[in-house]
Symmetry: C2
Subunit: 334 residues, 2 copies
DNA sequence: GTGAAAGCGCTAACAA
DNA sequence: TTGTTAGCGCTTTCAC
């Protein structure tokens, strides 16, 4: 990499002259500016990012801590973050907590050494289960803002971007009830995390509001054989006529299992699930889904963080942005 | 963030004393070391990463350029990279090229300003289609090593990690032939990229080797309705008894379509596809898959890059590592 | 055993 | 109009 020093030497001017010329300072003479710019162009000069970071005490880099990159929703949020960040001239350093509290803490600490200007994260399952939030507070106290999305720690004061999980499941369940479904089962593979619980509550509320309907919740644990559990459900309960799934795996497996059991979807049974467009394009019939607009969530998170980074001093109140889900009706419901 | 300067001031010693004490230099007196370390601990001192990077002209950061984060395989490789990098004390800056040559170039250029010590990347579709490699060469010439994985540019001199695409499809096709299948269709959604072409060739070779068998390739384009195309295939060709898919979408859709057409899988028809474990767990019957060991690929790529970064000067020959796929037989084949 | 000073690449206040 | 200097945080050589 060429440096200002080398350019200066070759041009027989001082370093600061070169710097100013490149930054279009009014101070420098026209001809000098031209000479400098030409040489810089020739050598493809780029200001050293590290030096700038040190000078400005700003890295223009965001730390993103994701619990699981193989989760389609989270990957999509990351995509949204990356795009928005790039638009504003920020890079992202990605860490994967792997749902582990320890790794989450480490990543936070490691990047809080001047590597990043702030964080965007979704809380690891383990952290949520243990209700551990001190590491977040500590980071914020150090002057590094955090924006949480999806799985947030409600008792940490910071910007948040969340989904209307409760309402989404409530409304989806109601739409199943309106179809005339009586035996609606809620299946969830994510009961340990905040959003999973919210979704269950939304379902329960809708069911409770309708006399004669009884809640029926099937919780899948990580170690369970997902397919087996759902097959067993169908075997034991022949009268199930609707499924609402809190996660895409449960939704897809439930739909495919129903089909393989000879049930007609959606005639005999409806299926709705939190899932992506791609999930719904892979099933036959196409799955009716609750879409979370992951990319939008990512973009909002990035935007909130960047605003906060650039507003240090001006103590703005923390914001919680709710990104509404959409119920996209496909062929797995009436 | 606390700096050495602040610690030095508070302790009434010089900055260099503090620095040496923290780095366990023999020069410094025992008691001083103790005092320094205690205060550093108290203030939770961490050496500023940016300053170190500037000093050492090394960032301990890897630039990763991924064409598409929503592709499960690529996401998994990223996971592998992140894990290996973290193990070696490296961070990763992730850029998503979105299959665009322009974005790929930009990311490369942007990060070549001192932000990273090297790159790991998989070539964007557009770059492969246009056979554009100059930006890679330029980056390498600038002294920033590149490791390519999966979709590689064969005529760029750099380390590579690839999959045995040709052999994998060849062998998988042979295993279908050995099952007694006669009408084996190859479906691909990735015919524009290098690996897609290799996979097709492997299939063709196996078919050509067996008299009486005829190649039948169905190419899906990005803008096509994936489900419709595959449905039409089954409608027009009632005698298809095996599918081999170059990508997971095609595999999953083919399997589900076959089932919905009343075909018994695997009695009437076998399905094999390049796919992940999770894909195969979502279908009924479970999909027989060609596994690419994405995490291993990521880990190898990171390892290769880090070795090369740390070996500057010692001009090691470029390596191409082939990570063998495994054919995991599930219930969609005999 | 401790400190001063230089230097990594850059910007900006100040001097000339 | 151009140059000198200091400083961002750190390490390291050299002096004391």
């Amino acid at each position: 990499m060429v440096t200002l020093k080398q350019l200066a030497k070759e041009l027989n001017v001082s370093i600061s002259t070169v710097s100013k010329a490149l930054n279009n300072s009014e101070e420098i003479g026209e001809s000098t500016v031209k000479r400098v710019k030409e040489l810089a162009e020739l050598y493809n000069y780029r200001p050293n990012k590290v030096a700038l970071s040190l000078k400005n005490n700003k890295t223009r880099t965001i730390g993103v801590i994701i619990p699981n990159i193989l989760n389609r929703f989270l990957a999509k949020v990351l995509f949204g973050i990356e795009r928005e960040a790039t638009k504003h001239g920020y890079n992202i350093i990605t860490c994967i907590s792997n749902e582990s509290l320890e790794k989450e803490k480490e990543s936070l600490q490691l990047l809080a050494n001047g590597s990043v200007d702030g964080f965007i994260l979704s809380v690891a399952q383990e952290s949520q289960m243990n209700n551990e939030v001190e590491h977040f507070r500590k980071t914020i106290k150090q002057g590094l803002p955090i924006v949480m999305f999806d799985r947030v720690a409600h008792d940490v004061l910071c910007d948040k971007v969340i989904v209307d999980d409760f309402d989404a499941t409530y409304n989806a369940t109601k739409s199943l009830i309106n179809e005339g479904r009586k035996h609606i089962v809620f299946i969830s593979n994510i009961n340990d995390i905040s959003v999973g619980k919210l979704r269950e509550r939304g379902y329960n509320k809708a069911m409770l509001e309708n006399v004669g309907l009884e809640s029926f919740v099937l919780k899948i644990k990580k170690k369970d054989d997902h397919q087996k559990k759902i097959k067993a459900l169908f075997k034991k309960n022949k009268n199930i006529d609707a499924i609402i799934a809190a996660d895409s795996s449960s939704a897809v497996i439930a739909l495919n299992t129903a089909v393989s059991f000879g049930l007609k979807v959606p005639k005999d049974i409806s299926v709705i699930g939190f899932a992506s467009k791609s999930d719904s394009n892979h099933t036959l019939p196409k799955l009716t889904t609750i879409r979370q607009h992951a990319k939008v969530i990512g973009a909002h998170a990035a935007e909130l963080l960047i605003k906060r980074i650039q507003n240090t001093g001006a103590e703005v109140d923390v914001k919680t942005k709710i990104v509404k889900t959409s119920l996209v009706k496909n062929k797995s419901t009436l």
